[in-house]
């Protein structure tokens, strides 16, 4: 059963994660959905696939009025990210969805109308959540060619989408990375295969290492905290990506 857990709380400003679900059938990739709250407004980052809509919706509703969700944020166009779109819109047709302009005519195949989407330009943009400023940080080609992370300067949290993802065995079900070296073994093949561009990777590492980050939150696997954030960026910088089908 999916459950919502708070990972950051500062008055009305909160971050919560609907973390991966040990009971989910093995043929679906396990995902984390993140909720950014600021008072009576919330943004749901990577709402997930349609097969898990019911689990995500009920986990969120157990803690938060789902009507506070005003915005969806889709890091990229994959089905595990946003195929639940039509179901969310069915519940609340006024929802707005932020996504890369590149996928503006692709994602509507999952649902929504011209009014639903707010296109993010390649260079990124600021997103206001009840006055709290979030930033869509470019992460193109990691892995998707139109791809964004979401940075909260105040909470020092970077939602990193597929970057930092790890395909963990069921017994490693912690919310946070506890042992970096052991953890990163489960991230290696994912990054080598799904990430294609070493240039894009270095560019991302360079930009992201300049951000003040307490938590790096991927869409798959566990959250990196404190020193592990820098460890991850260094590890990623040194990894040869686009190399997953050799060997």
């Amino acid at each position: 059963m999916k459950k919502l857990k708070f990972i950051y709380e500062n008055g009305p400003h909160k971050w919560a994660v609907v973390a991966r679900d040990p009971e989910k059938p093995g043929y679906l990739i396990d995902t984390n959905e993140y909720l950014v709250l600021n008072g009576s407004e919330a943004l749901l980052a990577d709402p997930g696939g349609m097969e898990i809509f019911s689990a995500v919706f009920s986990a969120i509703s157990a803690e938060i009025d789902p009507y506070t969700i005003r915005y969806l944020f889709a890091s990229h166009q994959d089905p595990d990210i946003i195929s639940s779109l039509a179901l969310w819109l069915n519940f609340n047709p006024d929802l707005k969805c932020y996504l890369s302009w590149l996928w503006g005519s692709f994602i509507p195949h999952f649902g929504g109308t011209a009014e639903t989407f707010i296109a993010i330009p390649d260079e990124g943009m600021s997103i206001s959540l009840g006055g709290l400023m979030l930033e869509a940080v470019p992460a193109h080609y990691l892995h998707s060619s139109g791809n964004f992370n979401l940075y909260d300067r105040k909470a020092k949290i970077l939602f990193s989408g597929d970057v930092g993802a790890a395909l963990l065995p069921p017994e490693e079900n912690g919310l946070f990375v506890e042992n970096f070296d052991r953890h990163i073994r489960h991230a290696r093949d994912f990054h080598r295969r799904w990430m294609g561009s070493n240039a894009a990777k270095l560019n991302w590492c360079e930009r992201v290492s300049r951000l003040d980050i307490d938590m790096l939150c991927p869409q798959h696997g566990a959250i990196y905290r404190g020193e592990d954030v820098k460890r991850f960026i260094d590890w990623f910088a040194a990894l040869e990506v686009g190399s997953g089908i050799r060997e």
């Binding site: 349609m50 019911s54 919706f57 009920s58 509703s61 157990a62 179901l87 069915n90 519940f91």
Partner: protein, 200 residues
């Protein structure tokens, strides 16, 4: 059946969400009862002999608040199931909608998708039954909680009476008893309203 397939169903999830919000509110309020009841017991202890009766009532209140906790967590579990089933229904309804769009294209198309439509219909009626059972269980539990609240209300009233004999502690005891009464009343009225809405 048509009711459920049609637009009213999205509204159904909204209705479930509304009930969920009411229940969460009540659960939040009731978590305060424990503290108040504990407080009542401590005060009764401090005031000693002068408020023997209040001590008895306040320990009954402790028992009541534990029972209320249990009943509330039952309510929480049931509404969670309902939200989850109603959300699952959204997806089935969407599939149904896609098939209906094909059906609308004429007789040949209708025949073509008939088996698919029948499969979706079957799944939908399964979920409808499930949701019906969820509502039923929920309203049974609501009745239980309402009954419990009535007990709580009369306990609070006795506590108020006993507080009169509390000597110099009288005022504090009265305040505590009133707090409990207010809380129980608030739970009672929210749930009563919810029960009426469920009956509609």
């Amino acid at each position: 059946m048509e009711e459920i397939r049609g637009n009213s169903h999205a509204a159904d999830l909204r209705r479930v969400v509304k009930a969920n919000e009411d229940i969460k509110k009540v659960i939040r309020i009731s978590s305060g009862v424990n503290l108040v009841a504990l407080n009542a017991m401590l005060i009764a202890k401090r005031s000693g002999e002068r408020s023997r009766g209040f001590a008895v009532v306040s320990s009954e209140l402790r028992v009541f608040s534990h029972k209320l906790d249990g009943a509330m967590s039952g309510l929480g579990t049931l509404i969670f199931e309902l939200v989850s089933d109603a959300a699952a229904m959204q997806k089935q309804r969407q599939e149904h909608g896609h098939l209906l769009a094909i059906v609308a294209q004429g007789k040949r198309m209708r025949e073509l998708v008939a088996p698919a439509l029948a499969r979706v219909d079957e799944r939908i009626s399964g979920t409808v039954q499930e949701i019906g059972r969820d509502w039923q269980k929920l309203s049974l539990q609501l009745n239980r909680v309402l009954q419990l609240c009535e007990t709580g209300g009369s306990l609070a009233r006795s506590a108020k009476i006993e507080a009169v004999y509390g000597g110099d502690m009288s005022n504090i005891l009265k305040q505590v008893a009133s707090r409990i009464e207010e809380t129980v009343n608030e739970i009672f009225s929210t749930l009563k309203l919810l029960r009426t809405q469920l009956a509609e």
